[in-house]
Amino acid sequence: MTTTTAPESISASLESATIKSWKAPIAYAIFTLIAILLFVVNGRDGVSRFRLSNEADVIQLAPIDNPTRLTCILLVVLLIAITVYATWLSSRAKRVPLWLTILFAVAFMWAFLTWAAAGETIPITGLLLGTVALSAPLIFGSLGGVISERVGVVNVAIEGQLLAGAFLSAFVASVTGNPWAGLVAAMVAGVLVSFMLAVFSIRYIVDQVIVGVVLNVLVAGLTSFLYSTVLTSNTPLFNSPPRFPRISIPILSEIPILGPVLFRQTVIIYIMYIAVFVVWWGLFRTKWGLRLRAVGEHPQAADTVGIRVNPTRFWNVAIAGAIAGFGGAYFTLGSVGGFTKEMTAGAGFIALAAVIFGRWDPIRATLAALLFGFATNLQNVLGAIGSGVPSEFLLMLPYVVTIFAVAGLVGYVRGPAASGKPYIKA
């Protein structure tokens, strides 16, 4: 027995079992059923026109005319085919690929637009242009959320940071007459809210979610109070900020469809493109990002290699606040052109959802924010063209789609391991 030979060795990795997941086919089937009921059984006649170019564009694309009933039927057949294929994949214990879900979503959305716009014209570029614009505060907010959570502090106060940014940017830009000063003020406002979040959650170890919620209420109350006492006392002086003009970038803005959507925007949107890239690059390619993520994953390990955990958290939460506050300026300097009470209307919470939907990754969170922005703008556009769809239904549908997308697409989500947990040294 003591002379041991090693003829057999057991493989060093664990065998995997096959688990059949029926989540995707069930989600597809539900939507296919909805599609059959709405677009075929309750189908409409007419022609739905999708306009792809504006009159001013150099390159003109012909509009697409979809015969409503025929297009709907063809697309619903496609949806059924995708569902059957997904069912077959699942029964063979294979994963349903992401592209299939994207194809399904596009087909469903096309069918929906065709059905909703029977006899009308949908400006596709307008729809997408508005999507990018409306996503801006969500994207800035979610970038702030990603940084804050990656460093280990749950940021429920995004809403408060957006609102504070919106308020202070309107005030400062009006008084100085300079929108750039307003942008800086927005960042300062976001940082101030962050300081409170950081002091209470890091220094005094108060539950981070509770601090965040309280800060949201505080900022909402404070800005409403100052709005009704100060801003409305002299609106031309205090609440008439100059707005940033739309800037068309030469050549790029003439690319069909994409050009008008991406490159005829205000400077806030151009800064957003840069911010998304810089945050992504910073998080995953630089010393700053490595240390930030280390602190959010395993603060004790970071401490043992000489990284000061709590100061790292404090200053990065401040940076997160600056970015989210910047997003708040979009409301006053980019779109509305003045502050109104609680004008962010829950955008901060949608940004928080985008952080999680985007799995704490700046790029994915941006895509998630764009999806939410599309949802909001779809409702605007369909309302404007006066399609026969009830407005309550329009309000609801995009979010329902999102919930199913999250349930069907996002599987096992793992956030930063130490997010929400204060670091206390002995």
Partner: protein
Amino acid sequence: MKLELRGITKRFGSLVANDDIDLTIEPGEIHCLLGENGAGKSTLMNVLYGLYQAEEGEVLLDDVVQRFAGPGDAMRAGIGMVHQHFMLIPVFSVAENVMLGHEETGFGGRLNLDAARAKVREISARFGFHVDPDALVGDLPVGVQQRVEIIKALSRDAKVLVFDEPTAVLTPQETDELMTIMRQLKSEGTSIVFITHKLREVREVADRITVIRLGKVVGEASPTASNSELAALMVGRSVELTVQKEPAQPGPAGLIVRNLDVIDHLGLKVVNNVSFDVRAGEILAIAGVQGNGQTELTEAILGLQPRVTGEISLNGTSLTGLSVRKILNAGVGFVPEDRTEDGLVGQFTIAENLMLDRSDRPPFVKNGNLQLGFLAEFAQEKKDEFDIRCESIYSRAGQLSGGNQQKVVLARELSRDLKLFVASQPTRGIDVGSIEFVHKRMVATRDAGIPVVVVSTELDEVVALADRIAVMYRGSIVGIVPGNTPRDVLGLMMAGEVPSGVAA
């Protein structure tokens, strides 16, 4: 580099963890710090490493007094540490973990990962490690993770290296390799502090031994001292190192497990086609390195795992798919591996903890009312029987020492009418006195004709208790061997090799 600790005193509230400790480590020596769990070894090293600030005393390197405000200072002074719980970030690559805290950067703070990879490769080559700089640390086996910790310390030119209980997670073979690495480091002039409570390892590798008990240095010993001398010094009295037991009188098979699979949430088979029998009146020890499916196996027997296929039966009745309540009622006693997490409710009193798994029926509950009088009587009786050292039966369980907590768990489980007893890591982190007690009770349970399953990662415990030994590796049972199997064979089996002559 010569390291000297002078008069270190560290208090946590009223508890004195280190009491006026003096320690000198000469350049190029392996100095063992021997002591029981909770003796204050790790606290001392955390003071040395700047993680804790001592109330009194000073640290000297080459006779110069050092002031460490944090681990960063200690590292710059040349002190490296291989932590008991690895200080590695599982979602980072090896290179990222090694560079963290002293990153080389290019333009705009861009990480120079190539330099870090080269460093990992260079140190790996020096010691014959096979570590891929781009592997994610969380995917590596613990033995390799430990090497990453060593590489991390060496990449900062550590002159004094502290190993805090490094062998707890290793197979015997990996332990031998670690000893070789320590000797190699020593020959390069590195001073090594080796913290452990395992006598065998101390005698094998140490140049000098310092013994710590209850926060105080109680003596020095030479590596030639016998096991019982070292143990007596460590515990403060002479201890029995072997468990006294008669040969087993096995009856018919009680617990029968057939083709058991447990699948985790990622779809991996953490227990893979496991079959074994445990007969009445015998102890089957399940040996193996931590994380090879032992936890999931015991939880599957208790009905705590959601995705289980296969057959488990006890005295002819099937337990497969039953609820935990029904399995407990069938007479299964269970000591979970983490007593503070799964074994006790720390905020409850000892008495309440003693009735925790019998809260649904008389005698503890009648018509939905707790029978507090009966409970008090019962708790008092068990306190005496199991020698639970506490102020009263109404003390909170969380305030007890590890050994006494484990006695509470044991008292609760063993006072039921058992048909099977499953104990997972029953002596982890408890003092030698309590270990003796726990071992005696387990043998007594066996002698009462009950099948006993003990899961342990400590080979000493396995060898001391087992009538038969099943070795697990990567979710499978490598083989079931007699209790007197030599340790080196067990060691090979723990690394997944099936020795000839062993029926798998």
